[in-house]
Symmetry: D3
Subunit: 237 residues, 6 copies
């Protein structure tokens, strides 16, 4: 794994659960977003975090944004997505309004974004499913953004699903949900997860054949030795 | 759009999200039921609200209903559904018991009802999926109605999913959830939503081709002019 | 129904909703697990309860379990599953960590277990779906077990989804969720539910043909008589 | 106890807890309002329920009430309070806005009302404490009524704190909360509670002197006999 | 009202409820913090917002703050409080750990701060009550800050109790809770609230004397005329 | 500190917050019960845990307990309290019914118990305040125990307020709430907390006199030296 593309390809094949386990071992127990689930048919994604922070709406701030003769942070966040980025929208767990709908998702997709993730709600769910962008959210609610939210800042640290997300962090999603990998740890975690996947596949087969957990998970010395032999023989071929 | 059938046909093609946006613009921000999701394969429906109000159960009221020598409001609500109606059951967000099961859903269907909607739970979920009636609820719970609820009144205003529903209101449902349109606004909202759908389809295509939100959503003057040309040329054909 | 296999075969065909209704009539209104839903494609199961009780984690207890030179209760619970058992894991409704993942589910399956049920979360959801074991849970969360839980006891009475589960109770699951049948009542309830299914199928057909609930549900004397005739004629054939 | 005044005097001395226990024995287990607590220094009250039902607000209904050239149900509910009544306001557990403040509470007091009870919030809490009216609510929130609620109906059955309240029911409140006694049961329950209080006072003294629960609560035959002697001797004096 | 001291003196006498009502009339319906209640004997305060934003903790960020050879944002926030400021701590509604204890509250007090407000928890509650600083919070929890939080930024816009707080906003607290007044509106709102207080006191007296709400609240023309006379006569004295 | 009495006397003077901080430093971050608050005027207590585990009620288990010709675990738990014990009742966070009332609290008091603690509700709140026993609970609800609970086991490990409690653990309560100290750590934690209290009192005084947190909390080298001098001089006296 030398370049980001290679790293991304590796991450794209790794289950979120395995990445979480390796982050836990590395001292990062709180890395899985709670209550943030896939809402679209597309699920797997890898992306670098671009963040948008939404706060409770207030008329004077909304008016100031309108009078500012420039796009709101909400639109800037989406227009400015770079290829390979995932837009992470902090919504304070608010379930009473949406943070985005199908047209905004289409823009993220067109800009090369790999996904959108929020601990709030999204809208236009049937159309969203046609865009081809993985969208993870706390729920669906067609109520308009402006009834609860005002977009306030871009590329600040945010909280999403109870996890801290720094701009540039690597996020990976699958049917289970979303894991946040601190940027500087992505290579290490990916490598460790890749090894763990190989071992786990071996152990799964053993368990299916009847090995009890007391031998197979965690693997005892005998089982580990068997695994080393298996790996060795596999590589000889 | 002159008759109800035509209105219903129009509404049947409109996404809930687009109807909600037009209601918001018309001054009705709180029209989407929160936490009320489709539980059956059938989803899209249009219906006029028939309402049933359930309250916490109490033995003397239950006994009085039994001794009354006439069907309970619960059964009357379902038997009396007219073609084109959706039964809306206020359940106070109670997740500890069901408000209906498959046989009652079958009756609503047979009576010509277009859907059942509740902010409580439903039961007999596997069988419910065979009835052919769209059912929207806050969840599934097989615990019997009588453990938590007593049906109290029919065709009163009710709260469902945090939204006021007046008898006769027009409800529309799709995979996103349910929108409540005040009866007197249904024509106006449907017409506005139809126009918005046409514009949004045009803008979506532009966004897919790479137009940023700063030009496309909301559309700036240039984009709107392009749309008018497109519409004009399309109609000439 | 004289043997357990026959009982299990009967229960395997009965909807959870119908079992719940018969338990309610028998004086057991609180038998359906609240908020415990199927997370895997496999759903229907019948099993005898083997229980595992998890409590909030604490370092001294974890250390004691590690130093004990024997497997933890967590692993013993799964290794010791007998054919026909369902593992019921009390997790106090904790949504912040998982109680098991794919390898442990594979062990339950290999040991002959029929399902795993918890009011907490599970992890490795995509892989879990490949194991072939019905898994019911309150949600998915990849955060590791040890962050919130310590396994404390096996085969004690537990609470799961707000329902008491005694070791040996008969649990049945389908798309609706999970019902807990006290062991000594399983035969009676199964027999009553079987009869109810037959009647309900008859009534459903009547309702589909237009019979109002005032005649069909609950069935009035005339409808019941018609049913008796139908049953009699059917049996003559 | 022959008149209502006498009944009210009796009820005014009885703890809510004792009334709840006697209602439970009479088959009414669900009679204590959940999450409805006293917010003012005054607490004890006895009153007949006058009910007000609030629903989620909607602009067309609010406009219709304004154009109706008569007071809204909200104001009618309070102006029409009769001496001895408690106003019970169904607020759907909504914690985001108030259902009343100090001026409305003053009106209830001036009209002879004995208390106000709601499963929503109240406002003007410091001033409310000066009015001299017991107020029970789910919390304090100064946000205005009209942001969430529209008053819809008076003297209908309502749900409050998870309990059914029929107009005319007898409500009693103390520091513990509020109990709802069906009107037709008030005399019986009061009499039974009065007796229970006498017995409990005797048993409490015994427990304080060291009697274990196995003898004193529930009282065994010996303890009951001792109580009968005590009562007899007390009455002789 | 020409200077801030005069404004503060006025605000210090105005109930939170009255300020909220005037903000609502001015188009700011969402200005009262939900679920943020006084935890100390001192309650009334007026202060300009200094803000601190806390996010979910993460080991690399904590390590970076420790290695930075300067105080953490958490300590800087408190050390840098200026006289007349209230420290507003965004805690994402987290109830599982505290954001401050008695020593930190003492520092805010010593620095001239007028209060501390958070939608999280505080600790050292008995000692906190001795400091003499009004503290408003969502609850008490002695669990240490670092278990859930990392302080991230000072003097950014924050969300607290569902309300947007901009640095420099004017906050007022009393037994009811906390209202947020946008800085530029404080004078106007204070003046309007002062007038409303005078009118309300008059109306309260009328209601106590028996005036129905239909005449007194909102006051009809006759009542308003009477009030003008009363004001006029009072001022002549 | 050589005997338990001495330990108890020390603990009785230590704030819960200081004990929690020392447990956190010793590797026990999760030791403070969440959402368990004092409901009686008496608050401070020290006690060894006697535990009672309550589960969701079920008729067959209730009947078996009645027919067993011995007291239920519920009553045994209270009758068997030894002097110096605190009864900890696991109630699964259930807010819909009580786990005890005034007579049972009186028994705990008479038996020498120092407190009762539950993550459920208690009843008879006004009378409970007269018993003289500190009672900590998640709330007040007069609904009877048997509606939701069945007592199942005594002196097993339990969860209460999200914290593991082992029989024999040392619990301390004050106005802030309840801390659970593993039995084997009580001496060490008490000693460390005592020292911390002394230091904190010194630092508090410094902060009150104007020392910033950057010098005083955590204390820098200069401040610590000053403290050592102060201690030394104090001891000389």
């Amino acid at each position: 794994m030398s370049g980001d593309t290679s790293l991304d390809e590796t991450l794209a094949r790794l289950p979120v659960g395995t990445l979480v386990m390796n982050l836990d071992r590395a001292g990062f127990p709180n890395c899985f977003m709670k209550g943030v689930a896939p809402l679209t048919p597309e699920r797997r994604f890898v992306g670098r975090a671009r963040t948008l922070r939404c706060l409770p709406t207030r008329p004077d701030i909304v008016a100031a944004q309108k009078n500012a003769a420039k796009p709101t942070p909400h639109r800037v966040a989406m227009d400015g997505v770079s290829p390979g980025q995932v837009l992470v929208i902090e919504a304070r767990g608010e379930l009473g309004a949406a943070v985005m709908g199908d047209l905004l998702a289409a823009r993220i997709k067109a800009a090369g974004g790999t996904a959108a993730v929020t601990d709030g709600c999204v809208r236009d769910v049937p159309a969203l499913a046609q865009i081809g962008l993985p969208v993870y959210a706390a729920g669906a609610n067609a109520t308009l953004f402006s009834n609860r939210h005002v977009a306030m800042a871009i590329d600040e640290p945010v909280a999403c699903g109870g996890v801290l997300v720094m701009p540039g962090d690597v996020l990976v999603g699958d049917a289970e949900g979303v894991v946040v990998i601190p940027a500087q740890m992505a290579e290490t975690i990916a490598a460790a997860a890749l090894e763990m996947e190989e071992l786990d596949a071996f152990l799964l087969e053993k368990i299916r054949q009847g090995a009890p957990l007391s031998r197979a998970y965690p693997p005892n010395a005998e089982m580990l030795a068997e695994y080393q032999n298996y790996r060795f023989s596999k590589r000889k071929l």
